[in-house]
Symmetry: C2
Subunit: 556 residues, 2 copies
């Protein structure tokens, strides 16, 4: 019997980082440890009291480093694993989370001259201050007929690297000028660990408007945005863009000593968190859509063909597993809608009943909603509480409930809300199928996939497809560890391909959700109504949602 070997997955979320130690042969999760970032998220002011503009969310890059000597020694000790047994390290990170640095990787925010400058700090993915710049880029790209738009469903997001960088140039030109690099935090972290600047194709593709065949947007386009922005790609980015599964480099002696590992241990090119979860859900080939079900939902599917698909938020060649184009869609609110309802609209009676039977209110409501037969509530909702990310890419849409009567019960509304998110997912699936990207099976990971069986059964009944569930409750961290084992390669007891790695390391729960044929037939009829409303309100026939937001904007 060969000696056991382990991969280390590092999962960088918005509030905390997690380490997960995984057996490379079996995928067994040996031990895990989490640490909050000491500085948290700054959305009101900097540490020195400098007030931030609205929609801002910043972070201290040192926090990403300072957690490492807590969580890595912790999992090593807990797991009883030695440094020699670690074959590779993988990292997943939120994106687009960017920072400006000097040419050696020093973050500008640690320089005395810049620490009072908000734009010198890490700008988190959820920082939406660059909305005007995103709109400016969208308008110009449309006018110029830029081909890259087709890879992003026709719209760029304010969360991405280019709008954020353009805003930095406009609002803090001194920061922009001093920055030798502007870089994704995931890439920066890997740079720190192995002393080599490499950019992840996954991050560059989904958040940096880069494609393997077409590269970055042209200088001409950037110049039209701003003459000074013309040289952005050449001066601030790197063209050394590597697909997932590659090693960016080996662990430096300094870091190896600090965290108790062996120098030279391979560190993988970083992965966006949702994309890592795909690997952690055992998917590494075509036709299988992975739903990362949480406050919002991310839908990822791979296909050998790289097609320009309308209404898909991002299409990246080699975006997850090399050899496949990875298609990303999203629903901008899912669990958030349920939370909105439960927090605000649960009456005291229902609360009392839940307490009486000793259930938390979500579980109690799930029980009530499970007893509402499909179609019997006469309700239908459009799940656009936070706009529609896919397939319409329109943040100005809003939620709708139709079919309300005097006998409508809270649990009926709750079920209709769950159903509406299932219909939204089916609309995304159909959008792929219609454009030649078939989806045969669904896979799910994330908080809702773990806890909410009613939701999974409804998704199966609505879509008419089986749903398999990630066995791991840390699918992203597991995906990072898988990337680490592929970066190590077979010669170091890892794997040469994601297909082999996921086959051994990622597992599914035994319970598979399969569609009930009779319920699927009922849902087909309701879905036809959903699509009529979807098209009527989403494609301009009735512009009520936008008019109401316009009126709101004139009065508040």
């Amino acid at each position: 019997m060969s000696k056991r070997k382990f991969a280390l997955g590092l999962d960088y979320g918005t509030e905390s980082a997690r380490a997960l130690l995984v057996d490379v042969k079996t995928g067994e999760e040996i031990s895990t440890a989490v640490a909050d970032y000491p500085g948290g998220v700054m959305d009101k002011q900097l540490p020195d009291g400098t007030v931030l503009e609205p929609e801002t969310a910043l972070q201290d890059p040192n926090d990403y480093l300072s957690v490492l000597d807590k969580i890595i020694p912790a999992v090593m000790e807990d797991g009883g694993v030695t440094a020699q047994e670690i074959i590779g390290i993988g990292v997943d990170f939120t994106a687009s989370t960017i920072l400006p640095t000097l040419s050696d990787g020093t973050p500008l925010c640690i320089l005395e001259d810049f620490k009072q400058e908000p734009y010198a700090w890490v700008k988190l993915w959820k920082d939406h201050a660059a909305q005007p710049e995103a709109e400016e880029m969208n308008d110009l790209a449309e006018k110029q007929g830029e081909l890259f738009l087709a890879r992003y469903g026709g719209r760029l997001s304010s969360e991405w690297m280019f709008p954020k960088s353009l805003r930095m140039l406009r609002k803090a030109p001194n920061v922009y000028e001093r920055a030798d690099r502007i870089i994704e935090a995931g890439d920066w972290l890997v740079w720190q660990l192995c002393g080599k600047e490499v950019r992840s194709a996954c991050q560059a593709g989904y958040k940096g408007m880069w494609s393997k065949s077409e590269g970055f947007p042209s200088k001409e386009f950037l110049k039209l945005l701003d003459p000074q922005f013309e040289s952005f790609v050449d001066e601030k980015l790197s063209k050394d863009i590597q697909p997932l599964g590659k090693a960016a480099g080996g662990l430096t002696p300094e870091w190896a000593q600090k965290i108790g590992l062996i120098p030279g241990t391979p560190v993988a090119v970083p992965v966006i968190d949702a994309h890592a979860a795909v690997l952690g859900t055992s998917v590494a080939d075509a036709g299988k859509m992975v739903l990362a079900l949480g406050t919002s939902t991310c839908h990822l599917v791979m296909n050998e063909k790289n097609l320009p698909a309308r209404g898909v938020a991002g299409i990246v060649e080699d975006g997850i597993a090399p050899g496949f184009a990875a298609y990303e869609s999203g629903q901008s609110a899912v669990g958030d809608i349920f939370l909105w309802f439960i927090r605000n609209y649960v009456n005291a009676d229902i609360e009392r009943q839940a307490r009486l039977v000793g259930k938390d209110i979500f579980a109690y409501f799930e029980g009530l909603a499970a007893n509402v037969p499909p179609g019997s509530n006469g309700l239908l909702a459009l799940d656009w509480w936070n706009g529609n990310r896919s397939t319409l890419m329109d943040a100005n849409l809003s939620g709708l409930i139709i079919g309300l009567t005097l006998s409508t019960r809270p649990e009926e509304i709750y079920r209709a809300l769950i159903e509406s998110t299932a219909f939204g997912t089916l609309a995304i699936i159909d959008n792929h199928s219609e454009q030649g990207i078939p989806i045969d099976e669904l896979y799910a990971s994330g908080g809702l996939a773990e806890k909410n069986e009613l939701l999974l059964q409804i998704y199966s009944d609505v879509t008419g497809r089986t749903i398999k569930i990630a066995a791991s409750t840390q699918a992203a961290a597991l995906g990072a560890a898988i990337a680490g084992s592929v970066a190590a390669g077979a010669e170091r007891d890892g794997y040469n391909t994601f297909k082999e790695a996921t086959a051994s390391m990622a597992h599914l729960k035994e319970k598979v959700f399969t569609p009930d044929a009779a319920k699927h037939q009922i849902y087909k009829r309701i879905y036809a109504e959903y699509i009529k409303l979807y098209d009527a309100f989403g494609r301009g026939m009735l512009d009520t949602m936008k008019q109401l937001k316009e009126i709101r904007d004139t009065v508040v």
Copy 2:
């Protein structure tokens, strides 16, 4: 100074009857007394245990009589008024509330042979069992091009006398055959009091498909429904149909003795309750719409012209004051929608806060909703929780809320619900105006008009019209007393016209609600969106509401 004189208003509701003693000169309300009907509403079984069919609501006609010797002596004694000082009696009653009787007025349900027959009892207005017969009549009337349809906005209701009687013929032919008369309970009560069968033009017009110029539906039409129904009008109804303000007759000696009044005291032709409230709100001429604001809303307006107006639920010449055609519209749920929300969707936190400040939850919520500026919530609702009575006459429509976001607050939804009922009223107003029946001012009575200042202000801001409020909290009973004083006439110290009577006897509150010009401008923009949705969902462009109900009906 002449001696004081009084009129007696008898207000027959669904659960109880009220007597109101009113000073004929000043309208001062001297005393009032209420008594519940001993038998209540029977909707499950008869007194002997006979089980009732669904949608049934019955009553014992004796209850209408047995309350009289409680409430009339009570108000006389409380008011310190003598029998000689009572110049007239008026009655208002729910309609269409009908019963079968012998030719002398004896209700069939008191006969030994019939008391186990549900159809022998009083069928209340809210008995909806005759829905199939109503639909049958609508289909036939449409096919035959019957002109009477135009007076009822194109649709007859299952609540009305003809569908109820046709169902009696079908379901209980022995009752139908034995019935010498089928009569409105209000007419029957007045018949008992003065010994003379007279039918009210108000009840016959709104609920009996009768018109002053065209009479009842033709024999040919009735025969096509059922050969036995051909002679319904000739055999079961009376053609002695009298306008409001007439005396049906004088109090019989027997009843005079029983209730302590003078024989021969004039008893007025009965009025439908909502129509009596118009008089009690001081309105007796054209251009003024009275809103009876309660669980549902009834809209009544008079005009010299008798026009066939689309989307108006009932148009009756002399329907309220002689010389005017009275137009009735309605919203089938108003207060009921607010109640639905408050009962089901108020969370425990809000409940606690209300308790903390010592307010009931309606008042507390009203306070929160009052602080939401018009348009700022970005919400819009279609107020069709119980279908749309006017202007669409479609019970299969349902409620809709649009503009929901993750930050939508309960009080914003509550305000949007109030606003939606205001928009519904404006749609009814506009429907009149467009067809040559102008509406200059609004008047309001009923529970919501008394209590809900926020609602009244919103209605004023939305409609851009002033709203005056009935001073009386018993506008229907006061209207009945006014009818009694007109039945008495000037020669008995009453009045010859409703105009004179209401001018003296009906009063308005000092507080008048006037529209805020800036808010009205905002509401105009939102109303334009409301009308777009109204037309889209109400006129067939999007039949989602009906499809959802069809799906519901196939699964439950």
